[in-house]
Amino acid sequence: MPTLKQREARAGYAFLSPTLVVVLVVVVVPILWTIMLAFQEIRLANIRDAGIFSAYSLANFGTVFQSTGFWQSLITTVAYSIGATALSVGIGLAAALALRRKFPMRTGVRAAMLLPYVAPVVAVTFAWEVMLSPQYGIANRWGQSLLGWDRPVAFLSQRELTWSVFGFDIPVPVALLTVIAFEGWRYFPFAFLFLLARLQAVPADLEEASYVDGATISQRFRWIILPQLMPVIALLAVLRFIMTFNKFDDVYLLTGGGAGTEVVSVRVYQFLTARFDIGAAAAQALVLAGVLVVFLAVYMKFFAPRLDGDNEH
């Protein structure tokens, strides 16, 4: 007769086994396989001959590091991730603060604010594409008639625009900024939701006390609210950074990776489907994951307050 403890453990494994099978077969094995593929010279044509015992080499990494535009795309990915993270968390914070106190229709407004996050990415990128089109886009029409632009701006296909201000010519990476703006728009609701939930749990007494002491709104925000939001903001920043870093859909659908917006995941896709170079694609994906791990390690070492999914102990 097994003890109660043994029975419990046995039930635990039994209940968890379907999950483990799925995660193992469709996530862990593929990851290990990618690592393997990255060291093999495999193209789609000879995929059937590939096996565990094919020759291993570092050739793919050589191909990747020497290929034109690789380093540029890594820089683009980092800029894109940082910009999009800052923008989405920033807007999310502003939105959460603005919607903190009750007002008529608040529930409706809050729900509307989540639209960009829940709507299908293909539909919203298409709407943005049409709105920003230089031929029939509403943004350019209004820009020309209301803001006096000389000619339409190709938001999604123009790499750079020179902006003259006070006699200086400042190059503006138009397409990259547009893509970052899109990310900020699409993901601020995520930050907004979490920040609003946290804001509503802030105990009122501290704020009331500081109010009585004569603290102004900005002072209350700086010294009472912000410190309590900081852990959530940090967690959000990390989550958004990871997700944006790995993002494929948004950039692919908006610009196809052109005009200076080629992030690494789009590049991997192009290696895979245009060149059929599976080995090089895998090597590139691995580099992407590696860079992300380095970033996270640096973050955990120097900035992390506490990051784990475990909040029951």
Binding site: A14, P18, A119, V122, E208
Partner: protein, 318 residues
Amino acid sequence: MSTDQTAPPVTPVEAAAAVETAPRRPVRVSTTRDTAETVIFGILRWLTIAFLIVVTAFPFYYMLLLSVRPIDKVLQNPARLWVSAEEFTVETYRTVLRSVEDGGQGFLSLLFNTGLVALATVAVTLLVAIPGSYAVSRLRFTGRRQVHFLFLAVYLFPSILLAIPMFVLFTRIGLRGSLAGLTIVYVAQTVPVSIYMLRNYLSTIPESIEEAAAIDGCSRLDIVRRVVIPLAAPAIMANALYIFMIAWNEFLFALLFLVEERDKWTVSLGLAQLSGGIEVSKTVLMAGSVVLTIPVVLLFFAAERLLVEGLTAGADKG
């Protein structure tokens, strides 16, 4: 605390007295800066709200607007913000939904594909994730904590990294180009987040209820079926909706696996493929976008409260 030099000193006694007489709004003397800030931030707050409403809702309004205007009128006057009665048309919707043989874009069958994959994903994911999350939240066994780490790690890896071997594997075993193959991938993508959401909820169910059921002679499986699932029904519903949304909106894997077989396309894939070309008019595609967006948005509004609470559970603990 206060850096405001002009703030009048308020002693704790005075403050306490003020709180006692007017508990909601304590009496205090406002300074110029304080008044100014109250006014400025009061205005800013409304400006922010107005700006956010316009920015979030406008693309959707524009999508809806373009889908009911004829393409030649849109090209003539793209900046117009309303649709006149004589312009109004639903021909775009007919075209996009009609089957390809009848000269349409066949989105009706694409909708069917998408719905099928999304529902299958929900069913399988819940079947896997409910026992899984119960085990993680309730049962003590060696390796329980490591399981969390495994799930977290899944998120670190770009899905494009999983895409390559899945592409190779499915090509080999002939699952590429099938909706079943796509469902398997979606299940794997949604199980970790599903377990995370459910676990948070399950750990709030008092253990004593389960113990009572156990004393009454329920086996573990009975306890889960008869006690845990009914109690966790709201969380499970929210979770099901969330999974449905992810599967319905997914694009990358649909693109990789199904692109060559038009009759198996999901709506997202169809829209993305057609919008790249010039053969299909933009207003027809806008109608396609609306058709793609509406089910998700309706579901979302129907269950907004459930979803928001499910997603942010634990966020207020800091």
